[in-house]
Structure formats: C-alpha cells, structure tokens
C-alpha cells in the first residue's frame, strides 16, 4: 500500500497529538510512530522571538523531494512534516516530523533523516529578536548540520 504522505508549510501552530493520532490510526500494521518537534527557545532569556523567513513555493517543493526520498528508503506507512514560518515565541513549535511504520527502526531512522535534510535543504532562515531590544542577528548555519546530513549519502 502507498504510504500516506502529508507535508505542509504554514504560519498557524500545529497540534502534535492530532498529527500523531492520524498516523497511529492508519491501520493494524502500524507498530511504531515516532515524532520530533523543534521548538523556539529563549537562550536563557536573551531572545524574545525567532522570525522564520521562507521561500514560498521552493519550501514546499524541497520538503516534497526530501519526503519522497524518505518513503523510497524506508518502509513507512505514513509520514507527516509540518514547517512553520513567521514569528515564533519561546515554547512555540517550529517544525514537526512524524513517521509511522510496522517497526521502530524504520520510523526512527526516517524521522532523523528527514530532520537532517530539512535543516540543510529546506529554504527557511531564522532571525533573532532580542529581549534587550537591540537589533537581532540572522542565525548562522552550523557545520554540524551539514555533517549530520552528509552521513545519509543521497543524491538529492
């Protein structure tokens, strides 16, 4: 059976429980659902908010390419990716990746792969808004993220 694929780029918050329940309810063969949620943090009170800029159109297409690669590599029953844009306050969920499979290994690995690839390929940029009112910086990309993505060795 074809896996159920859901991916969205949106300003609105997401409901983690609802998304996980939708994957768990895909049928009797779902034995594992894993999820990862990335949150906005305050960095010890230094940040008031993070502003997420994105490239409309390409963001959806790029996530679509990464998602296709994941369902080709792992036997998944379903997969959900939601990435938000706009202003995020500490505690707000920014990104959700959830995967369903018969067994945990595929679900874990696919979710990790998706996050590594979203970090380095999905066209989103974070700008800091500081609590002290000073002009915030753009968050710099980490070399660690590139290393994490490169271990999967794909052609995309």
């Amino acid at each position: 059976m074809e896996p159920r694929i859901v991916f969205r780029v949106q300003a609105e918050p997401f409901d983690i429980t609802k998304e996980i329940d939708a994957l768990a309810g895909l049928g009797d063969d779902v034995g594992a659902v894993t999820s990862f949620t990335g949150y906005c943090r305050s960095e010890g009170g230094r940040l008031l908010a993070l502003e997420l800029e994105h490239y409309p159109g390409m963001a959806e297409e790029e996530i679509g390419r990464v998602v296709q690669e994941a369902v080709t590599r792992w036997p998944l029953t379903g997969l959900t990716v939601i990435h938000r844009f706009g202003m995020m306050r500490p505690g707000d969920g920014i990104v959700l990746v959830a995967t369903a499979s018969s067994h945990r290994l595929a679900a874990f690995e696919a979710a990790e792969f998706l996050m590594d690839y979203l970090k380095t390929r999905a066209p989103f940029w974070k700008k800091e808004h500081r609590a002290d009112g000073s002009s915030g910086e753009w968050v710099e990309a980490k070399e660690l993220d590139d290393q994490a993505a490169s271990r999967w060795q794909t052609s995309i």
């Binding site: 490239y55 390409m58 979203l118 974070k126």
Partner: protein, 86 residues
C-alpha cells in the same frame, strides 16, 4: 540580454535592500557564479551582499544549484545564505 527574475532572502535580501527584481542579464553571464559577480558590480549594497561568496547559496527555478550551474533558460534565480530552518 535576457530578463530574469531575481529573488533574495534573509541576509542577502537585507543587504541588497530588495526582495526581488527583474534584470536584463547580458548573454556573457553564463553561470550562477558569474551572475553573482556581475551583480556585485551594480553597487555597494550588492558588493556587500556577495562579499563572501562562500556563504551565498543559489536556486534556479526553485531547485538548489552549485555556483557553476548554467543560468540559460532560467525563469527565476534566488540567492540566500545557508538555510537555518528546522
């Protein structure tokens, strides 16, 4: 000359001071790296935006490309810093 839609994001957008524009690009400009070099000559905002080519990425028609990618036939070329989503 070919008219191309150029789009800028994040730090590149802020430094240039524009989110997008349409420019007539001379036929002698063949690759993404050559386009970035040509844009740098348009003014100090552009020179500033592209001062460190190592941290500027590009996409042609919404697909990631390397600096040596050919721009012939492109409808839309975007320049941006390395992604920091997720």
């Amino acid at each position: 000359m070919t008219e191309i839609k150029l789009i800028y994001f994040a730090l590149v957008r802020e430094r240039i001071g524009l989110a997008e524009e349409r420019l007539d690009v001379p036929a002698s400009v063949k690759t993404v790296a050559e386009l970035a070099a040509w844009l740098q000559l348009r003014g100090e905002e552009y020179a500033y935006a592209f001062e460190n080519p190592a941290i500027v990425r590009a996409a042609i028609d919404r697909k990631h490309v390397k600096p040596d990618a050919l721009i012939a036939g492109a409808q839309e070329i975007a320049f941006f810093p390395p992604m920091t989503g997720g």
